[in-house]
């Protein structure tokens, strides 16, 4: 891996971490429950993007499967929490 690419990967991961800290602050602060669900969904997405960048960093395609699983679990979790806030039950 060339120094240019390795520096770009580090800077990108740093920017992701910054965005995650902002999302975490919204998760802690969020005035309503729906704000917290939104922040958690955002954290899932950024974690998935981080996985893809790590695939480049460690030169391994195994990370794609992890990213795919994170998309699916983030979707199921967010919809279940939103449904719970909407109806009081996740599955009716």
């Amino acid at each position: 891996m060339s120094p240019l690419l390795s520096m770009a990967v580090s800077v990108t991961l740093g920017l992701y971490v910054l965005a995650m800290v902002l999302g975490l602050m919204r998760l802690m602060r969020g005035p309503n429950a729906q704000d917290r669900v939104l922040a958690l969904d955002f954290l899932y997405i950024v974690g998935m993007l981080m996985m893809l960048v790590l695939a480049i960093r460690f030169n391994s395609r195994m990370y794609f499967e992890g990213a795919l699983l994170m998309v699916l679990f983030g979707f199921v979790g967010s919809v279940a929490m939103a449904k719970f806030l909407l109806r009081g039950e996740a599955i009716e």
């Binding site: 690419l5 920017l15 965005a19 939104l38 893809l52 960048v53 998309v71 449904k83």
Partner: protein, 117 residues
Amino acid sequence: MSLWGDALVAALLLASGLLVLLAGLGLWRLPDFFSRMHAPALASTLAAWVVTLATIVYFSLREGEPVLQAWLIIIVLSITAPVTTIVMARTGLFRRRKAGDPLPPPLAGMPDRPTRR
């Protein structure tokens, strides 16, 4: 890998980092739940596309053949993201109406509340 390939992948990665940071800033700074919902969409659409493109370019150039595995992530994400958004918007609307907080103004030409049949 050539220098140009490296530079392309690096530029795509940096663009995605800036987009995600923008989404985080929007999530933190925007004043109200419905405006806050707009920001993370930037991360789940444009930033995800750009990162996927970066991984495809990187692995394709490295292995000398197209590696299109990462498209699966984009396809799944473009199916799931709108569903999450709609369910969450309905949740926000419902909980605000229940709490008696001010609702966003109705669209022009639409009734104040959805009519129930």
